[in-house]
Symmetry: D2
Subunit: 482 residues, 4 copies
């Protein structure tokens, strides 16, 4: 892999990227590293930048992590060196510029209490302050990651058990953290009191338990009796019953991330007790009610918008069909088209299915508009293919505020809806009409009236956030590259 080059991912869609997926396994009679591998495989959509697995055998911890997809980072020989009863794993997405092995997870350190390895999904909004305090006390950090801050704080935590130490440090953390923590002979699953990111546990058929960011991954592992780790809970994975502790009381107002429903989670996962596929269908249905339009065909932007498009079609009576074919082998490439080729119209990610849109009025369903780079080209492709009208329908409200809780849309600048009205976005996109689902419609589709974080739509954050330090304040502190 030509590591010295920044991949120019010109094929990237404009979706925000979340930072991570985590997995944990306790299965004394099984090959736990292999199970963690398969768990990460099922979570690969949550991060394609780096992957890592750490195992504990009752004494020490062994780890391997590297830049790349799960299938690239781990060979059978490598898996074979990772023997133990416990395993944790991590897949990571990272913003351009900090894509270094240095920030890959799990973080493994030796502490006064023995070795621990930590894998983290989410983002602490007060990491910068916490880190500054630790720096002043003489601690050095080898990465720019808030997850290292969190790990290092565990090393200095007080308490006679790891539960107590985790509990004591949780009091200091503000932000999103779904964690799996591995010691030499224990495995903990931890979720912040706001419940911002998902984390679920399940029972393995042959004994033991597994934990993963999404229930879809647990199902891939054959898990039964799956339930979410509740906000503020610390669960110790054991062979028989789970050992559950309420480390902190749940936040008065929880702040589950709406965007897991809208885009992040696999459609076969559950989030907040609900099938993501069903929620997305209902998003489409509500969108059909809120923003109907006379049309001949409903087409999704594949793959994330398929369920919503099915829902829109069902409710509106307009037939559903494929409008775009997505290259299944699209992946990270370091080769980009020249300007000349771009002008020529080289378009690798999608092709239109001309016959399905020619001379038709098309409703194009997309899950969200963040940076606004994709809608225009897609509309143009439909028009070029002969669509008589193109009506864009979005399954969530306009995203006008950055996220500081682990979604890669961290500045106002990059958000098209921060700078433009809906009508302006429509004009930019060239669509005949454009409608976003209302906040109320979205929450109805989700089936909840409260308990979710909608800050990216509303600007109302679940806790105080200093935008200057929350995300990017220290990202460049240590240069890095490895």
């Amino acid at each position: 892999m030509p590591e010295s080059q920044v991949p120019i991912d010109w094929l990237a869609d404009e979706h925000p990227q979340e930072e991570c997926g985590v997995v944990g396994i306790y299965a004394p009679s099984e090959d736990v590293a292999r199970m963690a591998y398969f768990g990460l495989y099922a979570l690969q959509h949550r991060g394609q930048e780096a992957a890592g697995i750490a195992v504990a055998d009752g004494h020490g911890i062994r780890m391997h992590k590297d830049i790349g997809l799960v299938s690239q980072v781990f060979s059978p020989e490598r898996i074979a060196t990772l023997k133990g009863d416990f395993a944790i794993g991590h897949v990571r997405y990272s913003t351009t510029g900090s894509s270094s092995l240095r920030n890959a997870q799990p973080f493994l350190i030796d502490t006064q209490y023995g070795p621990i390895a930590v894998a983290h999904n989410g983002n602490l909004v007060n990491a910068s302050e916490l880190r500054a305090g630790m720096l002043r006390s003489g601690v050095g950090f080898s990465s720019s990651s808030d997850s290292e801050v969190l790990t290092m704080m565990l090393a200095g935590a007080t308490g006679t058990t790891w539960f107590e130490r985790i509990q004591n440090t949780m009091r200091l953390w503000r932000g999103a953290y779904s964690l799996v923590i591995l010691t030499g002979d224990q495995l903990y699953a931890v979720r912040d009191p706001w419940g911002i990111r998902p984390l679920t546990v399940g029972m393995l058929p042959t004994g033991g338990h597994a934990v993963a960011s999404e229930s879809g991954a647990l199902r891939s592992l054959g898990c039964q009796a799956i339930r979410e780790v509740k906000p503020g809970e610390v669960i110790m994975l054991t062979n028989t019953a789970l050992s559950v502790g309420q480390a902190l009381p749940p936040a008065e107002r929880t702040a589950l991330c709406t965007f897991e429903h809208i885009y992040f989670s696999r459609p076969d996962s559950f989030w907040d007790g609900q099938s993501v596929h069903q929620v997305r269908q209902r998003l489409g249905m509500h969108l059909a009610e809120e923003a109907p339009v006379g049309a001949d065909v409903v087409v999704p932007v594949p793959d994330s918008s398929i369920p919503a498009a099915i829902g829109y079609a069902t409710r509106s009576g307009v037939p559903y069909n494929d409008g775009f074919i997505k290259n299944r082998y699209i992946g990270r490439t370091f080769i980009e088209p020249t300007d000349s080729l771009r002008k020529m119209g080289v378009m690798l990610k999608y092709n239109v299915v001309v016959e399905n849109v020619l001379n038709r009025r098309v409703v194009l369903i997309d899950d969200s508009i963040v940076r606004g780079n994709t809608t225009g080209p897609l509309v143009k492709m439909l028009r070029d293919a002969g669509a008589s009208e193109v009506h864009v329908r979005i399954t969530c409200p306009p995203i006008r505020h950055p996220c500081f809780m682990g979604v890669d849309m961290g500045t106002y600048d990059e958000l098209v809806a921060h700078h433009h009205t809906v009508e302006e976005i429509r004009q930019i996109s060239g669509a005949d009409s454009l409608a976003f689902l209302s906040l109320e419609g979205m929450m109805k589709a989700i089936g909840r009236s409260d308990g979710y974080c909608n800050a990216c739509y509303t600007g109302v954050y679940p806790f105080e956030v200093n935008a200057h330090t929350a995300k990017t304040g220290f990202e460049q502190a240590v240069g890095g590259q490895e």
Copy 2:
């Protein structure tokens, strides 16, 4: 890449694999290697084993090829070394055991007429005889590929122009060959007189022409005025008009491969003048007519069966929905589950969308049944998720005969429908009912009554085939590995 190990692709579905995709570019003012790269990228579904590009600059030919996906084989530095006005490219699928660099394409040789590079999609059924004859005349072969035989024959062809030499050797070839041939300063596209495999040419917006196995790839490159290379044609790519020659008359009965419609081609490609997506929708419609069933939902086996499922739903009135979620990051992995994990139900490729099938009568649409390994597990997954009935509908007839024209289903032994009746296959799969589309229904959906090869259903081959030598007769002749 741990080349010394055979990847155990336990995630593989049971689809047959075709041997290749080819691309050719003539664009004097452009970066032709980069264009070939993007063309191969759009053809990656036709072969994931190896990739190669050769370029000509008016004098010599330079080439790079290797085992791996297109994006793995080519770096920007590598592309930069491939300068020229002409380029050809190849992606290859290969059966286990002969997956070696030795068989990767293009084949580049120096001949009495200067260097030539050849990329081939298809399979000669008389390659074994032709090769034996050349061996006897003192030629040595460095691979077991029929494509090398074909290339070496060009080296020894008579004629004063390459058109004549190609024409003269075409007379000797029996079987499927869609070729791109690169000389130091010319580029030819060649299709066998039976028209077995697809090959299309198009005009580049900024001058020059491109040729590719599928029109979908040409559209990805921005091509206009796309047309198929006709059976028996040899087309020379030039800057302005194409130079078209009818090297051999088309076969009295052409033998276009039905399976391109059923499974191989991208749905956004055209085959035999027809949109593959439309044909697949019609396959579903005819299937709904031939084999209706009372049901609550129609679900496809993603991704190939989606258009047919939409068609089935449209015609039958039964609602369409997702039944399975396919892991988008599935790829070649060298790590397989232990027996214990298999028993646990580890299933990485698909998860059911439970809510869409629970307590419902499900129609499961699949494009074909070849080896019969997948249907049973999918039916079981649906039942485990609570489907009350599962009715399997297949968009082509039972495959009872091997293919010797480039599809990886080369022996009777591996074909479940050769050994079993439809009822037996139903029992094996555990479905409540099973129906295959009739040959007539399939041809009606395709919109043709003749001109296609349906040998895999009927056993009627377009020409004489010696099953002992057609495919596997010399595959092991040279050991190999590189």
Copy 3:
């Protein structure tokens, strides 16, 4: 690189391995990373396990390090990403089992004073106690390296300048440390008050200064006016004059490592103001005086014993000649002979020059005997080639005590002279006679009566050493592998 396998370095000779070589560059108008690369290249003999370079540009620090030889770890592209005015570099040897990226250097951390990178040659004997104290204060460590302890202590050091902070932590360190320390805009060279490991500075012809473990490396860089960093000194590299500070007074009795003369250093380096090549010649001369023997030829064990053999020949009057040819391409291989091949006598590292020893009485000069694995086979090779007598002469006394100051001979068990008398070793080796140079003779050859550490011969260490914790006490604390 097949990282998952431990290389079975069956070709290894029995020499102890030192842990590191370091280099530092300040050259504002030059490509400092490239210069550091060449400096490490010239120090490759001091460590072939891992290599790393960190650069500072006045603000931040960028780093790359990896397992492998210098030429494997750095590509031109990689070097190009490392821009700055300052650079430090490190090559590392590591004992089997802890050969992980985790222990590679430099160590780069962010501190309250900004980022620092540290490269260390030597070993702290009180690292275990220091680390335990820091663990208790809540610091976590990501490696088992004493160098990380040392780096982390700098992060917590007090003082208003880096000189003060370095000085303040030096008071706490007991053991060997020749360091280069890089901040965002400064570069320091530090040597422990005992002066155990070498460290030299020189002036670059075009401005700026360089520091390296050995003067031979500085000369490779074209340096002039080379002088050693003195025990207890901290030197700040600048463009014009060096800024020299005596951070700690030199130890009353310095403890320069004798073994740098005997084996480690390049013969073209200076150590303690003396040419290593000259010292080695004198070792041979004194050996000729102490242990003369009637013989026909003096042959060295190449390459380290060549100067001593020349000296022995010169003084004794016995002609010097090659007795063994060493394979110049010997390197790390993962392939070892089968038992059957070993019995067959497969011997890749050395071949005898038969004509030079046949029917002759041979004096074989070797620099030292540590584990005692090599002498026997070499003697046997000479006998098999027809040598009538073989007399082994060693250029230092028997090594009977482990080293805790950075040489990889850390336990009594592995030292053959700890368990056996000279006569026993002679018998084991099969030599006709065996003599070691006396301590007095060795010191005379070195030209000093005092100031050196001879602990490995005498068991008298320069400071208190707890053998249980000095070296291996915490090496396994954090599992690791990366």
Copy 4:
């Protein structure tokens, strides 16, 4: 490995490079691939560009070859896939520009007689004509190598046994060829009738035989009863006695390459029945007699000139000592110094041992002067180190004519002695005096009056050579790169 870049081997000395080393093993009870690996390891000095091994198991042939050192090309897993009773191997040097996998050896092809693999050391001077003839007959070539021509001719050879076929093609070959040829169940060693390149066979201690370019490699494998393959011989390796056939009569005047003695061969090898180390000592002795000079020390250019320097010192009475230290880890690097660094005097390959030359009159022994790039810098280094006089002595005559028999000095242009007198070369080098050994002196040292090729000194070639086609005529015919 960054294959797309041409390594700028600025550390290269000016020695000519030979094209290859070959090895063959027949040892039915052993791991023959492993033995071939060790054999190539011992021949690595003959080619560092590419390596390959082919094995036969009585039926087919399996092969692996790649760009890189032997230890880089072969992993234990790779070796494990190469099972058989016979093995051949090859290491290759190649001139810049054609360093491609395409030219790596062995060449493996399938023929009418079954598969054969061929490894070749040497160069055919009539390859261009032979290749042209085969091209005209319709054969295509996939490389520019004369070795492929040779291999392809075997495919078309007539005869009922391989011995006959080899014999029949040998009649057509003019030039240097020491070959190992592997069929499915036989192994042949072949040497041209002029005996230009070395080839030796030996008996393995545990049964079977081995063949290698140099006896030093056979000794590394434990071989006994080593003898040379004689000019014109074809030897079939078997388990018991060798099967020797005189395929062609030896040339009336054999043409053994002098340069094997001067530079190529390991000093522990025999060439033409004589110890290379002994010959080199005698070269030095004769040089001392022919070109004596008042001096204080004799120093070699390490490593190749060491034996000659010992000989010169012995005969002249001037003491021998090291003058230069050569970096033992020097290897191919893709990183070169900037102009600024070059001016600074960065010199990685050698450092002077100042004390051994300061204020002394130095005799510098070098084996040969080809391009003349090295002598000047070495003389300057000695002067800069304080040598009062520098007298250069060369162990062979001036090289004034190119070699077409496998040594990489193929054009008049590159030879400094073609353009300059000895006095001019002295002036260019800056030496106080310069002397070359006379042809007579050299042959005396070799101990022969005839039977050698001295064409590079005399211009008298052993057979007719067309300088235009002999070496470079077709090297660029096929572009290539892989």
